[in-house]
C-alpha cells in the first residue's frame, strides 16, 4: 500500500513537472520569444460577408447592449447579417429582438420555442439560417468594440484558417475578490497562454464567443453536437485534426461579464469541466491519429485536453500524502513538491501557474491585482471540488449515455 501510494506521488509529480515546463515555455515565448503577428495590418478590399450569431436565453438584461455594440461596428453593414437566436426565452428578450428587427434590416432574429434548449442547438439553428461566408459568435453578455468584427474577419484572408479567436476581457473586474481573480485568469489565459500557443504554432483554442469560423466548414463538420457542453473546444479539435488552423487575435478585445458570486462560478466551472472532459473522451484518439499534426502539436493537444483533470490529480496527491502521513511513511521530497504544485497551480481556468499569470499581468501593466496571487491558495479546495464534480458528471454522461441540458451563467449587470 505504501509503495503504491509513493509510486502514485511520483507519477503525479512527473505530470506536474511536464505542465510546469509547458507553462514556462509559454511564458518565455510571450516575454522573450518572437511574436507571431496577426493579420490586422493586411488591408483587403474584399472583406468576407459575416453572419453574427448571438444565442440568447432570457437575456433581457443584456440583449440590447450587445445588439447596439454589434450595430455600431465599423464593418460595412451591407456585408453583415445579425442573427440573435431567442432560445426558449420567457422574459422580455423576444420583445427586444422584435424591436431591433423592425428598426434594422440586417437584424434577423430566430425564435426557438420548440425542440431542445442549449447553445449547440441554438447555434445549429443559426447556422441553418445564416447565408454569409463567415460566422462570428458572441454570447449575449459581450460588448464588442467597434473594430472587432474587422479584426476577426481579417484572419479569413488566410485560406488555412478555419476559425479565429479574439481576446476576452472582463468589464466587471472591480466588483469583488472573485471578479478580480477571474480577471487574472482571463488575462493569463489570453495574454500568455493563447498568444504563446499561436506564436509556437500549437493549438490556440476557439472559445465559443468573440470568435468565428467559416460557415461551410462548420456545415461540413455537421454543425455543433447538442451532446457537447464545450462546443467551442469540440470545434477546435475537429478543425485541427482535419488540417485547419485557428488564428488568435490578441488585440481583438471584447468585454464580458464574469460571474460575481461563488455559486455562479461553481456552476460555470463545473459545466466547463464536464464539457472539456467529454471533449477529451471524443477527441483523444483522433488527435493522436491525425495526419495533419506533428508530434509537438499532438502532445500539446493532449495536455490541453487534460487540464480539467489537473486539480483532481493534485487532490489525489494530497490524499496520498495524508494517507502516507497517517501511516508514518511520508516522503519528505514528495511533500515539498506537492506543496509547490498545489500552491503554484491555484489559478483558475486552464490552471496556469503563478508565473504565467504574473507574466500576463506584467504585459498588461496591471499592478495592484498581482497582490492577490497568494490568496489563490485558499481557493484550491474550491477549484478541486468544482472540477471534480464536473469530471464525475462527465463520467456519468459517458457511462449512462444521458442527454445534456444547458445551464446559462447568471447575469447581474448591464454596462461597465
Amino acid at each position: 500500500m505504501v509503495v503504491v501510494l509513493k509510486l502514485w506521488l511520483v507519477v503525479i509529480i512527473a505530470i506536474m513537472i511536464v505542465y510546469a515546463i509547458r507553462h514556462a515555455i509559454f511564458t518565455i515565448s510571450r516575454l522573450a520569444g518572437r511574436q507571431r503577428p496577426y493579420y490586422q495590418d493586411i488591408v483587403d478590399g474584399r472583406m468576407p460577408t459575416l453572419s453574427v450569431l448571438i444565442p440568447m436565453h432570457n437575456e433581457q438584461v443584456v440583449a440590447a447592449s450587445v445588439l447596439d455594440a454589434v450595430l455600431a461596428s465599423d464593418y460595412p453593414m451591407e456585408r453583415i447579417e445579425v442573427i440573435p437566436i431567442d432560445d426558449h426565452s420567457v422574459d422580455g428578450t423576444t420583445a427586444i429582438l422584435k424591436r431591433y428587427a423592425a428598426a434594422h434590416a440586417n437584424v434577423r432574429p430566430l425564435y426557438r420555442q420548440n425542440g431542445s434548449r442549449g447553445k449547440s442547438n441554438a447555434l445549429n439553428a443559426g447556422l441553418a439560417a445564416a447565408v454569409n461566408e463567415v460566422v462570428i459568435v458572441f454570447d449575449a453578455d459581450y460588448l464588442p468594440a467597434r473594430d472587432l468584427l474587422r479584426q476577426l474577419a481579417n484572419a479569413f484572408i488566410d485560406p488555412e484558417v478555419g476559425a479565429v479567436m479574439g481576446r476576452v476581457v472582463p468589464f466587471n473586474c472591480d466588483r469583488n475578490f472573485l471578479t478580480r481573480v477571474l480577471s487574472m485568469e482571463r488575462t493569463g489565459g489570453y495574454q500568455v497562454d493563447q498568444q504563446a500557443r499561436y506564436n509556437l504554432d500549437l493549438l490556440p483554442q476557439y472559445g465559443g464567443t468573440v470568435g468565428g469560423f467559416r460557415r461551410e466548414i462548420a456545415a461540413l463538420l455537421g454543425g455543433f453536437d447538442p451532446n457537447q457542453l464545450a462546443e467551442d473546444t469540440d470545434l477546435t479539435y475537429k478543425l485541427f485534426t482535419r488540417g485547419w488552423r485557428v488564428a488568435y487575435a490578441n488585440r481583438a478585445e471584447c468585454y464580458e461579464q464574469v460571474p460575481e458570486t461563488w455559486a455562479a462560478r461553481f456552476r460555470q466551472l463545473r459545466r466547463w469541466a464536464r464539457g472539456h472532459n467529454l471533449v477529451f473522451v471524443r477527441h483523444a484518439l483522433p488527435l493522436l491519429r491525425s495526419d495533419y499534426l506533428n508530434a509537438t502539436q499532438k502532445i500539446e493537444g493532449m495536455l490541453l485536453l487534460l487540464v480539467y483533470a489537473i486539480p483532481l490529480l493534485l487532490l489525489s496527491g494530497f490524499v496520498a500524502c495524508a494517507a502516507l502521513f497517517l501511516m508514518g511513511a511520508m516522503p519528505i521530497w514528495g511533500a515539498a513538491w506537492i506543496g509547490i504544485f498545489v500552491v503554484t497551480y491555484n489559478a483558475f481556468g486552464n490552471f496556469a501557474p503563478v508565473y504565467e499569470i504574473g507574466a500576463a499581468e506584467v504585459l498588461d501593466g496591471m499592478h495592484q491585482r498581482m497582490y492577490l496571487l497568494p490568496y489563490l491558495f485558499f481557493v484550491y479546495m474550491y477549484n478541486t471540488w468544482t472540477t471534480a464534480t464536473g469530471l464525475i458528471d462527465a463520467l456519468g454522461d459517458v457511462l449512462r449515455r444521458r442527454a445534456l441540458t444547458w445551464e446559462k451563467t447568471e447575469r447581474t449587470a448591464v454596462r461597465p
Binding site: 488585440r251 495524508a322 519528505i332 496571487l373 474550491y382
Partner: protein, 226 residues
C-alpha cells in the same frame, strides 16, 4: 545562474547549522512555556541535525470518539450554514482530515509518527524546503527581466522569511502536540506545513512583480504590441 549556484552552495553549507540553531531556540522556548524539551542528534542526507524531543499528550478512545463526532457534526453544520464556497471547502477539507485522523487512531491505536519522529519529519521538511526555495524562486525569476541582484535579494528574503516562519511554526506545532496529542498532527503538517511556505513565497513574488511592472511602465518603448 552563477548567483543561484552560489546561494544554493551557501544553503547546503549553512542549512544544518541554521536548522540546529532553530531547534535550540525552539527547545528553549518550549522549556520556558513549561514543556520540557531538548534537541537530539540525528542525520538527514549529508546533514547532522538535532530535532527537538518533547513530550506529547495522549488521546484516549473517548476523546478521539468525541473529536470524530465533532468533526462530522462540523462538516454537516458547514454544509447547512453555507458560508462562502472557498471557506466552506477549506474548512470541510480540514475537518475531513481531522475525522480521518481520529478514525485512524481509533482503529490502529497509535499514530504513524511518535513525537520525536514528527519533530524529525518537520525539521527535515523545513530543511528540504530551504534547499528547494533558491531553485524554485531562481527559475521563476529567470523568466522575467529581473536583474541578478533583484533575483538574489528575492531568494535571500524568501529564505530569511522561511527560517523565521519555520522556527515559529516548529515551536507552535510541538507545543500544540504537547498539549493536545497526536490527533491534530496531520492537519498541522499538511495544511500549515510546506503549503504555507510556498503560499507566502508567492506573495513575495507577487510584490516583486508589481515593482517590476511599475518599472517597465516607465520604458514603454521597450514594448512591441501585437
Amino acid at each position: 545562474m552563477i548567483v543561484l549556484l552560489v546561494i544554493e552552495i551557501g544553503v547546503v553549507i549553512f542549512a544544518a547549522p541554521v536548522a540546529n540553531g532553530v531547534a535550540r531556540f525552539v527547545a528553549a522556548a518550549l522549556n520556558t512555556s513549561g514543556v520540557a524539551s531538548a534537541p537530539q542528534g540525528d542525520r538527514y542526507l549529508i546533514f547532522s541535525i538535532a530535532p527537538v524531543a518533547a513530550p506529547m499528550a495522549s488521546n484516549g478512545y473517548e476523546t478521539l470518539a468525541i473529536w470524530l463526532a465533532c468533526g462530522v457534526v462540523g462538516i454537516i453544520v458547514l454544509a447547512l450554514l453555507r458560508p462562502a464556497l472557498p471557506l466552506r471547502y477549506f474548512l470541510i477539507s480540514n475537518l475531513t482530515l481531522l475525522v480521518a485522523s481520529a478514525a485512524y487512531l481509533i482503529i490502529v491505536g497509535h499514530p504513524g509518527y511518535d513525537q520525536w519522529q514528527f519533530s524529525r519529519l518537520y525539521l527535515t521538511t523545513m530543511l528540504t524546503v530551504w534547499l528547494v526555495v533558491p531553485v524554485v524562486v531562481g527559475l521563476v525569476c529567470s523568466l522575467f527581466p529581473f536583474t541578478t541582484v533583484e533575483t538574489a535579494v528575492m531568494i535571500l528574503i524568501a529564505l530569511a522569511y522561511d527560517v523565521l516562519l519555520g522556527a515559529a511554526r516548529y515551536a507552535t506545532f510541538l507545543w500544540v502536540l504537547a498539549k493536545t496529542g497526536p490527533l491534530l498532527m496531520s492537519n498541522l503538517y499538511l495544511f500549515f506545513g510546506p503549503l504555507l511556505d510556498f503560499a507566502l513565497i508567492v506573495g513575495l513574488f507577487a510584490a516583486a512583480l508589481v515593482r517590476l511592472s511599475k518599472k517597465l511602465d516607465k520604458h514603454s518603448e521597450d514594448w512591441v504590441w501585437l
